[in-house]
Amino acid sequence: MNRKEMELNSVEVWDGNTCNAQAFRQASVDVVAAYPITPSTNTVENYATFHANGYVDGEFIMVESEHAAMSACVGAAAAGGRVATATSSQGCALMVEVLYQCAGMRLPAVLCLVNRALAAPLNVNGDHSDMYLTRDAGWIQLDSFNAQEAYDLTLMSFKIGEHKDVRLPVISNQDGFLTSHTAQTVRPLPDKVAYDFIGDYVQVNAMLDFSKPVTHGVQTEHDWHFEHKAKQHAALQGALPIVEEIFKEFKKLTGREYNLVETHKMDDAEVAIVCLGTTYETATIAADELREQGIKAGVIAPRLFRPFPLVQLAQKLQNVKALACMDRSAPGGTVGALYNEVAGALFNTPARPVLRNLIYGLGGRDITVNELKEIFTDLQNDAKNGKLTGKIQRLHGVRGPELSFYEL
């Protein structure tokens, strides 16, 4: 390493994008290929500034599109380097084809996905449409609820993806603008500590190893495609205990605790909200306020969207009577993806709560503490009656007459 070390304070004021860029720098990434897109632009912009000022010794490639950005990352990763990039929304949609390539080729790239709505109509604000878009691409997906977590999880993404039994690319999600553009206090690790935590990059089947020629991205038809996908699926499912192990290691280093499923007052909760992203923190405030009124409210959020922690989630929901699954993505003619996952996790368990699906916050529409308290109140009705009071799916907070679907 011949880069300059950066002096960091024990507490910095960073937004989520700065967190990503700092994590890239500390991981000493070999190649960052980037095409800017709101709201993830500042991730690569900050990284470019570090590069220009001598704090980075890797390559920074400016490309002509997000498709090219991910393609360059795949090429560099296959050649044998540690790679990372960032994107959002339409850019992510353009990357999708290559995301499948990257995961199928088992290249541990890191993608910071700053979640944003998908057009049309064009919208730069946060929702989870792009996260859902990539859900079957075979990437591990971590989800952060604030800037500190964005920093921590992006750092850990390298360690998780590069683990010898995982070797899969990792998406580090954060909410567009809410996390990415809100400056918060962040406790970074010193450069050396952060780098030592991740460790040196270990090349596997590198194309630049001329003594062992290798073909990447080969063609397999019906004869082998299925087996390769099976292996990929096994690696994803097998990543859960490894992720847990790395979370523990990180806790030992920093004191900051991460779990496969994050919970807030779930031990005795009767009504609960399951959600992703920044909504978790808002919901914890709502739950705390309701607890003061004697309502047993809890909040639960999977830390990983892929591989989905089905068992761990189901275990924590066995005593809950009513549950709202919050989906921040246009439902596209069915129930939300998170509802599907949670329902799938619960269906074969002995005790399962009444489930409702709320579509909310699309295109950056706010979700407030009061709204979440109302949702908890609805759940209490469900819990009291032992069945759904209303339809299964509701579009929460949309203007006009109430829009709700799907009744049994």
Binding site: R106, R167, P213, W224, K231, A234
Partner: protein
């Protein structure tokens, strides 16, 4: 890897559908080593028969060949075998019958011609055309 690839289960595959052309590390100069002397892996395309695409095949007439190497140079599948700049023959395991070798052959008459796949090579050689006079070509 002692097991044949066809007997392997999903859990035995190389992650990422990566294929190795050679079994061992390559510690020799590839350019100076003839294909038959290289240590190919089972998964190398060298070991795969892909000639079943062919409808017409090129037949080589050694008596007319001037060893110009055009066919060897232009073959998209390295299916022309040449040793020390001398034409040896056609690798029918990998030739797809595209006909480029015949197209680029400069002799008169051509020393490579396309014949029906079912025709025997020795029969094909008896049907070779005469030398064409000037102005007669095509």
């Amino acid at each position: 890897m002692s097991k044949s690839i066809k007997e392997m289960g999903w859990d035995e595959l190389v992650p990422g559908a990566a294929l190795f052309s050679f079994n061992a590390n390559v510690d020799y100069l590839m350019a100076e080593t003839q294909p038959e002397d290289r240590i190919y892996a089972e998964t190398n395309s060298k070991n795969a028969y892909v000639g079943d695409w062919r409808v017409f095949k090129p037949v080589w007439n050694s008596e007319l060949c001037i060893d110009c190497q055009n066919c060897w140079l232009f073959c998209p599948d390295t299916a022309i075998i040449s040793r020390n700049k001398e034409m040896v023959g056609v690798d029918y395991d990998h030739c797809k019958g595209c006909g480029i070798c015949v197209e680029v052959c400069p002799t008169n008459p051509k020393s490579l011609l396309m014949f029906n796949e079912i025709e025997k090579n020795e029969d094909a050689l008896t049907k070779w055309p005469e030398k064409k006079k000037k102005g007669e070509e095509e």
